[in-house]
């Protein structure tokens, strides 16, 4: 379980479940300004690590709650010009509730959109250049509307090597880029390869990263693969 109600806290000012902390805060038995929110986040991340599973809904609930606490706390610490507006427990609860309801509305709308895209995915429109006589007429009517610098700047963006992602907190032993290069190299030599034959001798982690490299190559349109049955041979094809 990764539910927030399962999260036990051991802070200087409070020991007990997160749910209870919320209620205690709402009843103003502890001042929010004394609660180290960062420690709660770290405790929750540890809690996630221990449970070994990720219930996205529960995690999101936690995030919404902690975000609301952050905002309330920042309001306490940074008084507005008119002075601090004291939130009573009832008002604070309402505010928290309002947040949760607002989030829930859009997460339901998100499900509706996903379902709709899936349904509409079967509707295909024509995508074709205009017939040649219309194209000729369009060419005659054309005048300069774009600045050539626009493509020049875009080229400059593409030539810029992006900074490597910040991964100092992860000890990487196998690099995704390097695995992509290895697969590319092999596919250049022969158009098709057998995953087990090519990578079966590698350790599990390398195999996993190689599989991830394949996904990346697929999303770039460079390679596809086929697997006829579960646990069957995986054949990788250059595109």
């Amino acid at each position: 379980m990764t539910s927030v109600s399962e999260l036990d806290l051991d802070l200087d000012v409070f020991q007990g479940p997160f749910d209870l902390l919320l209620a205690v805060l709402l009843r103003e038995e502890i001042s929010l300004s004394e609660v180290p929110l960062g420690e709660i986040v770290i405790a929750y991340i540890d809690h996630l690590g221990e449970s070994g599973e990720l219930d996205l809904e529960a995690v999101t609930e936690f995030l919404v709650l902690i975000a609301a606490l952050c905002e309330l706390k920042s309001r306490l610490l940074l008084p507005s010009e008119e002075g601090i507006e004291e939130l009573g427990p009832q008002e604070a609860a309402d505010e928290l509730l309002g947040r949760m309801l607002e989030y829930r509305r859009y997460s339901e709308a998100a499900a509706m959109l996903s379902e709709r895209l899936e349904r509409e995915g079967g509707v295909l429109y024509r995508s074709a250049p205009l017939p040649s006589e219309l194209r000729r007429a369009a060419l005659d009517a054309a005048t300069k509307v774009y600045e050539p610098e626009r493509v020049g700047l875009a080229l400059g963006d593409l030539l810029t090597i992006p900074p490597p992602p910040d991964t100092h907190h992860i000890r990487t032993t196998v690099s995704l880029q390097r695995r992509m290069s290895v697969v590319r190299e092999l596919l250049r030599a022969r158009k098709t390869l057998d995953f087990d034959e090519a990578f079966g001798a590698e350790d599990r982690f390398t195999q996993a990263v190689t599989l991830f490299a394949l996904l990346e190559l697929y999303s770039r349109g460079e390679a596809t693969w086929t697997q006829k049955e579960t646990f069957g041979r995986i054949e990788v094809h250059a595109q």
């Binding site: 479940p17 995030l63 989030y103 709308a109 499900a111 959109l113």
Partner: protein
């Protein structure tokens, strides 16, 4: 131009145009009144349905467009090697919902509602052509709105065809339950 001839011309224009065309633009191009176009469109829609045709009329993105009938999808994907639009990730779907209903809306506002930073979902939705920059708030944050492609991909005749978001809100009972859950632990502590 006779009623039939008008329907024919409308169909030809919708066939040629890569984007949905509004009744006003059709009327201007054909040089007839908009009401006549509206009538011709209804006639066209009816005929396409009745005659078991391979194309159908769709009202999307503020205009009209022809689309292939869904039963041809499998064969069409084999012939044209066109992949299906990949599904939305959970994060993308949430951001898209917020942008669709609240546009123009800024990234910080999206993050406030979702409770997480949404930069990468915003970037992929932009790349996928579903949302685009609209302007800036008075504090300089970029605002976003949905595109015509969004309406086309989701089969919406316009933004007003989106369902009322209030229908996603919990029932008053559910709301009460949530509220009680928030205060419950505190009550226990009092005992």
């Amino acid at each position: 131009m006779s009623g039939d001839g008008l329907g024919q011309t409308v169909e030809a224009l919708l066939f040629l145009s890569p984007d949905p065309v509004s009744a006003a633009d059709l009327a201007e191009a054909i040089e007839v009144e908009e009401e006549a176009v509206a009538e011709a469109i209804e006639g066209l829609e009816r005929r396409l349905e009745q005659n078991g045709r391979g194309v159908m009329l769709r009202r999307v993105a503020g205009g009209y467009a022809l689309a292939a009938v869904p039963q041809a999808e499998g064969a069409a994907r084999r012939l044209l090697a066109r992949p299906r639009t990949p599904p939305l990730t959970q994060a993308q779907a949430e951001v898209l919902a917020i942008v669709a209903y609240l546009q123009p809306v800024s990234r910080p506002e999206v993050a406030r509602i979702r409770g997480v930073s949404s930069d990468s979902a915003v970037a992929s939705l932009t790349e996928r052509g579903m949302i685009e920059e609209r302007g800036r708030t008075q504090f300089g944050a970029v605002t976003y709105g949905t595109t015509a492609l969004f309406e086309k991909l989701f089969g919406l005749s316009g933004l007003d065809a989106l369902p009322d978001p209030a229908q996603f809100d919990p029932t008053p009972e559910d709301e009460r339950e949530l509220r009680e859950r928030l205060l419950k632990a505190g009550e226990q502590r009092v005992e």
